[in-house]
Symmetry: C2
Subunit: 273 residues, 2 copies
């Protein structure tokens, strides 16, 4: 089921700037028993993206109403929201009056084996780098060729995620997740002011960590910092918090901080059960 500006539709105009230039934003939100998990936080990031891309203010009320109508009787799924600058303008120049396109679609929940959450996933470093762009860093915009090329580096299921660096060889994130590492009982995650997407789950984790007395640090880190870590995990809105079992040939088998953070998330989600 897909709604485009409130109407059931499976297609959009070819003239839409979302297609023409990737001129838009998106969110993917977990659906749980008719609820949208972290809905307010997703809408906040979307609103920030609208500001950065000079879109009109987000039609929050309509968006919420349509989103909730789509998931009313859905026990598990993924809701995707896309907002584009709509059609019009001349070349890259935006139209004088922007009529944003609002696309809301419902998808099945991805089939992640349970063992990933418990036993961890296998990961590798990607060759494809993330470029710096402070204006676009943090927001979830539609220009995603870097992630597509990074994810195309492996085809088999030997790895579940690839870790991406920037051109300065600093770790930024996974192709579809944020990354955290633990060393000496302290939790670290890369700064995303130059590149990367500031995950809703990343934000939850940082706050949950502080709540249970874990010291956190957002900084600039090298691949070696990950390889020397005591434990590693990735996060996103669908998989939650997922330990890394291997990064390249390095093995990780501690869960000292990962497990209590997973528990925090589990507890938070009780309200939707």
């Amino acid at each position: 089921m897909i709604l485009v500006n409130g109407k059931p539709q499976t297609q959009i105009d070819i003239s839409d700037r979302g297609l023409q230039y990737g001129d838009g934003l998106f969110e993917t939100i977990e659906v749980l028993n008719g609820h949208l998990v972290f809905l307010e936080q997703h809408l906040q990031r979307l609103a920030l993206g609208c500001q950065r891309l000079l879109f009109p203010s987000l039609a929050i009320k309509i968006l919420k109403k349509e989103a909730l109508s789509l998931v009313k009787n859905v026990s598990r799924g993924v809701l995707k929201i896309i907002i584009t600058r709509g059609s019009g303008g001349r070349g890259y120049r935006q139209p004088q009056a922007i009529n944003a396109t609002r696309i809301i679609s419902l998808h099945p929940y991805p089939d992640y084996p349970d063992c990933f959450q418990k036993k961890g996933i296998k990961t590798r470093f990607c060759q494809q780098r993330l470029s710096h762009n402070p204006m676009l860093a943090g927001i979830k915009h539609l220009n995603r060729l870097e992630q597509v090329l990074a994810r195309a580096e492996w085809e088999d299921d030997a790895f579940q995620e690839g870790i991406m660096l920037d051109y300065d060889d600093h770790v930024i994130e996974g192709t579809m997740s944020n990354i955290f590492f633990v060393r000496n009982h302290k939790l670290y995650t890369p700064s995303l002011t130059q590149a990367g997407i500031a995950g809703i789950m990343r934000d939850f984790i940082l706050k949950a960590a502080q709540k249970i007395g874990i010291t956190t640090e957002i900084g600039i880190f090298n691949p070696e910092d990950l390889l020397k870590a005591d434990e590693l995990f990735i996060s996103n809105s669908m998989i939650g918090i997922c330990p890394i079992k291997t990064l390249e040939k390095h093995l990780f088998n501690q869960n000292t901080l990962t497990h209590p953070l997973q528990q925090q998330l589990k507890q938070y989600k009780l309200q939707f059960l």
Copy 2:
């Protein structure tokens, strides 16, 4: 008139990766008396883009046939080709069998006043920078938010083009054009190995210059190099070669090399008249 995979259509599937991730390429080609100017060169760049993005080989024959059918009786216009990775795959992961989407659309020729070609245009430097990405540099892909944001920096018609730098403060190109400058009878244009789109017209100009004995240099240049130039011009497939009259507050009024290069282009296009 728009053809999607050979069929007249005005919309595409929302699931198309062109919309979802900007996962595609495009070309805009001048239509002149039923001909497509520099068609082979545009198709070559498109084919290079397909290689870089790991698309299947371009269906050149079909593409040409459809493109020429659309412009058969058109005296002046613009043909736009978009190739996307089609639908499918899981998240950023591409589908195992890629069914590219082929969109060919015909548009009116943009209304550039004649005086721009003769008297030159007014230009400014953009605040928005171009990020480095050697894998994506040169090709004309659909991730164009940097250009959209740069073009949004001015709304009035006081300027016709903005010049974009990278994050190292080097000049790369205009928002919709390549840039050239002349100093001491030598022609310079920025290297595009890290950022920018390698224009078909840029390539024509470099070859035409050599043909008529102008020394050319592709290099790394600062804004000051442009401001100290004897003459400046921009180029793209629609406007051809267009002198710059002003860049910020600096005035340029020589055409010593610009004019003969414009003549070369005029002569080349005689075959289509």
